[in-house]
C-alpha cells in the first residue's frame, strides 16, 4: 500500500511537471456523450441487442496540458424481448411465456485522460476509468417480473478525438469509443460488458 502510494505521488508530480497549457490546464471540463452500446461476451446470453439509449460523461480537471483526472459516469439501458417459448421448470413443470430482460448500468469511475496533441485542430486522446457499477436487472415472464439491484466492478478504457470549436479553445465536440468491462455474477447474468461509441460535447465549467 505504501509503495503504491509513493508511485502515485511520483506519477502526480511527474504529470504536473510534464507541461503547461491553455485549453485544459487548470480547468474543470465537463464532457457529455450520447452513446450506442453493444453487449459482448456472456452478457449476450441475456441481451444481445444494441442499445441506442445510453450516455457517458466525465468531469475532468486538467492537471497539465496533456493529462486530466476526475470522475466518470454514465447510463446504459439494455432491453430484449424474446418471443413466446416454453421453458422447463426445475420440478418438471413447464411455463410458456414471452421473456423480457431489462438491464441498466450506472458506473461511477475515477478517470484519467491523456491528450496527445493539445492545441491542435483535432486532438486524439485516450483515457481509462476504474470504479464501481450500479446494475439494475429486471426479468419478466409475461407481465410478471422480478428485479435485482447489484453493485459490481467497472473499468472503462476509451479512445477518441476532441475537436475544439475554435483552434486552441477549451470547448468543442468529442467523438469517442469505449469498452465497458463490467463483471457481475447473478444467476444467468454473467457480466454486462459492452462496447460503446458516441458523440458529445466538452466544455469548461469555469
Amino acid at each position: 500500500m505504501k509503495t503504491s502510494y509513493k508511485i502515485f505521488a511520483v506519477l502526480v508530480v511527474g504529470l504536473l511537471a510534464a507541461g503547461t497549457a491553455s485549453a485544459q490546464y487548470g480547468r474543470l471540463n465537463l464532457n457529455i456523450n450520447y452513446s450506442i452500446n453493444t453487449p459482448v461476451g456472456d452478457f449476450k446470453d441475456v441481451v444481445n441487442k444494441t442499445s441506442y439509449r445510453s450516455w457517458a460523461a466525465s468531469l475532468l480537471y486538467g492537471i497539465n496540458d496533456k493529462i486530466s483526472v476526475g470522475l466518470g459516469t454514465g447510463f446504459q439501458d439494455f432491453y430484449q424481448k424474446y418471443p413466446r417459448q416454453v421453458y422447463k421448470l426445475e420440478d418438471g413443470g413447464d411455463i410458456s411465456a414471452v421473456l423480457t430482460n431489462s438491464v441498466q448500468t450506472i458506473p461511477i469511475l475515477a478517470q484519467a485522460q491523456y491528450n496527445f496533441t493539445p492545441g491542435a485542430v483535432v486532438q486524439p486522446y485516450v483515457g481509462v476509468g476504474v470504479g464501481g457499477n450500479l446494475i439494475l436487472y429486471r426479468q419478466y415472464l409475461g407481465e410478471f417480473g422480478s428485479s435485482a439491484t447489484k453493485f459490481g466492478f467497472a473499468a472503462r478504457p476509451e479512445a477518441g478525438v476532441f475537436i475544439p470549436f475554435r483552434k486552441g479553445g477549451p470547448a468543442g465536440i468529442t467523438v469517442r469509443a469505449d469498452y465497458n468491462y463490467m463483471p457481475i455474477d447473478y444467476n444467468e447474468l454473467q457480466g454486462v460488458s459492452n462496447w460503446g461509441a458516441g458523440v458529445g460535447v466538452k466544455f469548461p465549467l469555469q
Partner: protein, 211 residues
C-alpha cells in the same frame, strides 16, 4: 453565464436520456403478457385414463373465498374448449355418473392481495372449493402434490385441475394429476379461451391416451 446555461442544458439532456429507459411492461401486447404454467404428477400414467368428465360450472374464488359457481360466456367457452381438446388427446367424454377416469375442475381465481403465495398454498387454498361430493366421493378429501416455487397473485388467474377419479376409491383420496394455470391480461376474455386451452395442452405432451 454561458457555461452555466450550457451545464444546465447538458444535465437536462442527460436526465431526458436517462428517463428513456425502454420499459418492459409498456412494450408487451395483451397476449404477450400472459403466462401458461403446467405441472403434473410424474407418477401418473396418463395413458391409463380413458374417459373424462368436466364440471358444468366454474368456481369463482376471490381472496381465498369461494364466491360461488358461475356460467359466464367465458366459462362456457373454456369448458367447451377443454371438452374439445381432451377428446383430441384421445379421451372419451362421459357423464360424471358414468364413472369417468378423470375429472376436470375449472376455477377462476381473483386475488387482490399483493402477497406472495406458494404452490403448496395455492393447492391448500383452492382445491377444496369443489366439493368431492360433486365427483361422487363424499367424505374424502383432495390430495395434491406440493409443487414448486412461489409467485405473486395480484390479478385473475384461470386454474384447471385434472383429478384421478379412477383410483380415488382405492386411494380414499382424489389425487390431482395435472394442473394448468393461465395468468396475465385478458385471461377471462371468451375469445381467448380456445387459445389458452391449446397452449396449456401443447406444452403438456404427456397428457394423452391411446385408445
Amino acid at each position: 453565464m454561458k457555461n452555466v446555461l450550457l451545464t444546465i442544458s447538458a444535465v437536462a439532456s442527460l436526465g431526458l436520456l436517462g428517463s428513456c429507459t425502454k420499459e418492459p411492461l409498456n412494450n408487451l401486447t395483451e397476449g404477450e403478457s400472459r403466462i401458461y404454467i403446467t405441472n403434473y404428477d410424474s407418477t401418473a400414467s396418463f395413458a391409463s385414463y380413458k374417459t373424462f368428465s368436466i364440471v358444468d360450472s366454474v368456481a369463482v374464488i376471490s381472496n381465498n373465498r369461494l364466491e360461488g359457481k358461475a356460467v359466464s360466456d367465458y366459462d362456457i367457452a373454456i369448458i367447451a374448449a377443454l371438452k374439445s381438446r381432451l377428446q383430441q388427446q384421445g379421451y372419451t367424454l362421459v357423464n360424471k355418473s358414468q364413472q369417468p377416469d378423470l375429472g376436470i375442475n375449472v376455477s377462476r381465481i381473483y386475488n387482490t392481495s399483493t402477497g406472495v403465495i406458494s404452490y403448496p398454498d395455492y393447492w391448500g387454498s383452492y382445491y377444496g372449493f369443489y366439493d368431492p361430493f360433486y365427483w361422487g366421493y363424499p367424505g374424502i378429501g383432495y390430495g395434491f402434490p406440493s409443487y414448486y416455487g412461489t409467485y405473486s397473485v395480484t390479478e385473475g388467474a384461470l386454474s384447471i385441475d385434472a383429478l384421478d377419479l379412477k383410483d380415488a376409491g382405492a386411494d380414499k383420496k382424489i389425487e390431482g394429476v395435472w394442473m394448468g394455470l393461465v395468468r396475465g391480461s385478458g385471461v377471462f376474455r371468451a375469445a381467448n379461451a380456445p387459445g389458452q386451452v391449446n397452449t396449456l395442452f401443447d406444452q403438456s405432451g404427456y397428457f394423452k391416451t391411446n385408445q
